[in-house]
């Protein structure tokens, strides 16, 4: 079992009016960085790096980072910089990037070079992961949304080739063109770092991931739909002629451990009450569905499924449709992961697990038994949680929770992608 640690690295400014019920209006991509305080940013970047170092000391196998843009809930706009620092200041833990937003890179060769450097500096501890990004990312870096999925796939193929095929070679693709691919940096790991794909519910991403035999890491989705997505992965794997195992399934979920139940509840509530994500229940932010569901980000069919004939001319000015009613478009599933309800609701359905080791461990067991993931990430230190909240939890993870979870992993035979090769299903050397 692979056990990782994650925090989204929220920008916490308690004087901003973005925390709690201050009456300040908050709109997605409607917040000005004129309010951003680099002094606070400096403290927070250093705090989060310190916490990662401590997480390694406490026995976590992996330190997970993620990337978002133009939003206060995640400071990882340039995640690779944090990863490069961790590569140097940590010793043992894997550096797990879940993930770089591939389609927004205009120059994925640059990404291939950065990741190869991180892999070398860490002496082979990089786990790379790639995502399509939410609408925010496409807007922030002005990436043409209808080609997001095509660009994701092409950039993936390109980076893997740049890592694993000796250059120079030429690449004349649909979205990326290079006359000379020969980066003077290659990944430490042969042929390249493991690639894990984080996601929510996008069926075509799950299918693509299963076709590649990459671990699919579900990001804090509810248990039942997560289970269904893993089942879908397994179905596709069967069609591809292999049996998917626990090594192909990963799960990120919110777990905070504390010294007393009172402290645990106080800290647990901070998951959804802080500036981490103004768009969570408990805060006042407004997600703008049109920004999350950009035109073409999720492609529709190539032909409008309904015949739009409007008998307007004969019946006056009002445009009354005569065709059958069609459903309004659904909002992006990625959005829905952010809206899991109040603290009580989320605790009830295991979306937030916060307690003492004694109460937390059985709940983690329930999650492991339900989903059977080979790799898990505990999402902690988020929202309005302070450095002290995080450090108390990390210590208890190390002293009590991780050892217990490792035992569970053995008992339930949950093997991670560093125990069983996801490409061959063969055991890997320790």
């Amino acid at each position: 079992m692979f056990i990782g640690y994650f925090t989204e690295r929220p920008y916490q400014d308690f004087d901003s009016g973005w925390v709690g019920s201050t009456g300040r209006e908050i709109e997605d991509l409607g917040m000005t960085n004129g309010d951003y305080n680099p002094r606070i940013g400096a403290d927070l970047y250093n705090r989060y790096l310190d916490e990662k170092v401590y997480a390694e000391e406490m026995g976590f196998d992996g330190l997970m980072l993620n990337e978002h843009h133009s939003t206060p809930f995640c400071m990882g706009g340039v995640m690779n910089v944090e990863a490069a620092i961790l590569a140097r200041i940590t010793k043992r833990a894997k550096i797990v990037l879940l993930g770089n937003v591939l389609p927004i890179w205009e120059d994925p060769l640059w990404l291939a070079e950065e990741l190869a450097e991180i892999d070398m500096i860490s002496r082979g501890r990089l786990v790379t992961g790639w995502v399509r990004g939410t609408g925010r990312e496409s807007v922030a870096h002005n990436s043409q949304a209808p080609f997001n999925w095509e660009r994701f796939q092409e950039a993936h193929d390109f980076v893997v080739k740049a890592w694993s095929t000796p250059g120079p070679f030429r690449w004349e693709g649909e979205h990326y063109q290079y006359r000379y691919v020969n980066p003077w940096a290659r990944p430490y790991q042969e042929p390249h770092p493991q690639i894990w794909i984080p996601g929510v519910m996008s069926r075509n991403t799950v299918a693509w991931c299963a076709e590649q035999r990459y671990p699919y890491i579900m990001l804090a989705t509810e248990l039942e739909p997560t289970k269904k997505s893993f089942e879908y992965y397994d179905e596709v794997a069967k069609e591809q002629g292999y049996e998917a195992g626990t090594q192909h399934h990963g799960y990120l979920f919110k777990v905070h451990v504390d010294e007393t139940e009172e402290l645990a509840e106080e800290a647990g509530r901070k998951y959804i009450a802080g500036p981490a994500n103004p768009f969570l229940e408990g805060n006042q932010g407004q997600v703008r569905a049109n920004l999350q569901n950009l035109p073409g980000l999720t492609s529709r069919t190539s032909l409008l499924p309904t015949v739009s004939t409007f008998a307007a001319a004969a019946r006056g000015r009002s445009l009354v449709p005569t065709g059958a009613e069609v459903e309004a478009p659904n909002s992006d599933a990625q959005d829905q992961a952010d809206f899991l309800g109040t603290y009580e609701e989320q605790s009830k359905k295991y979306s937030i697990i916060s307690g003492t080791p004694k109460t937390v461990i059985p709940k983690i067991r329930h999650v492991l038994e339900t989903l059977r993931p080979g790799s898990i990430f505990f999402w902690d230190g988020d929202g309005a949680m302070t450095h002290e909240d995080s450090m108390r939890s990390l210590r208890l993870f190390g002293e009590e929770v991780i050892p217990a979870v490792r035992e569970m992993g053995k008992e339930l035979d949950l093997k991670g992608p560093f125990e069983v090769d996801t490409q061959t299903n063969e055991p890997m050397e320790a």
């Binding site: 807007v139 002005n142 049109n290 004939t309 009002s318 445009l319 309004a328």
Partner: protein
């Protein structure tokens, strides 16, 4: 293949490997109308009034409505070439070309290539050139219904055409259409820096018809077209928004008909 409805006929032609649906009615000199980025809502009163004295053809632009998507198309210029071929496939000869909003940009691109087969050109609230002041409204920052509302001089004017809330089928059309639009224009948004230069040789008699209250395409775009085109006249309609052919079909059709007749 042609089918007849209560108000108009529908025909389909093949262009560059894809089918293009065209709505048609009326008799007289041929008029071709190119719809907005939000797609063609159907046979609207504006078309009907033009069809009282002309043979009006309204294609669903390739990739919009019932016309197949040219997955390879990447620019408004690609679209202009497809429209030129659609007009040829329909056997219309020289036409009066009318473009609405984004369709106006397509029409301007088409005219910039050659204008020997255009009898007249009408650009209504057309995109395509960067205005000196302001910006062409960006659909990315609006719910698509809000974006359509922005096309009217007021919410009340919107409600008179679409009701308080538009029918689901229309919303689907708008959402579907913006995907195709985003495949053709993204950066820069809704204009082509080359276009003003290319229009300098375009002699066709052109009417620039703008709503005074146009909140989508600033009047600066009209002024830029006026400067770029050797033979253009700007007419501003007071009190109307971007979708003036929906807001005031009579006024819009009369202005276009007068321009067509003016030659």
């Amino acid at each position: 293949m042609t089918t007849q409805t209560e108000t108009h006929s529908e025909t389909t032609v093949q262009v560059a490997g894809g089918s293009v649906r065209v709505l048609q009615d009326g008799a007289g000199e041929p008029v071709v109308v190119l719809h907005h980025s939000t797609g063609n809502p159907g046979w609207i009163p504006f078309y009907e009034q033009l069809a009282a004295g002309h043979a009006v053809s309204v294609p669903d632009l390739p990739g919009y409505g019932q016309s197949e998507r040219p997955a390879w198309a990447r620019s408004t210029r690609d679209m202009a070439i497809l429209v030129r071929r659609t007009i040829e496939a329909l056997g219309l000869g020289s036409v009066h070309l009318v473009g609405l909003g984004f369709g106006g940009w397509v029409a301007a691109e088409l005219a910039s290539m050659s204008d020997h087969d255009l009898t007249s050109l009408t650009l209504i609230g057309a995109a395509g050139i960067q205005p000196e002041e302001g910006e062409i409204a960006d659909v990315i920052f609006y719910e698509f219904e809000e974006y359509v509302k922005l096309g009217f001089s007021s919410d009340q004017a919107y409600a008179e055409v679409f009701g308080d809330e538009a029918a689901p089928e229309l919303k689907e059309l708008w959402d579907f259409s913006r995907e195709m639009t985003a495949r053709l224009t993204w950066k820069p948004w809704m204009f082509n820096r080359q276009l003003p230069h290319l229009l300098s040789e375009t002699q066709v008699r052109t009417l620039l018809l703008w709503g005074e209250e146009d909140r989508v395409t600033p009047i600066g775009v009209a002024q830029a077209y006026e400067a770029a085109l050797p033979n253009a006249t700007l007419q501003v309609l007071p009190g109307l928004g971007h979708l003036l052919e929906l807001e005031a079909a009579d006024t819009a059709a009369a202005a276009v008909a007068a321009h067509i007749a003016g030659g």
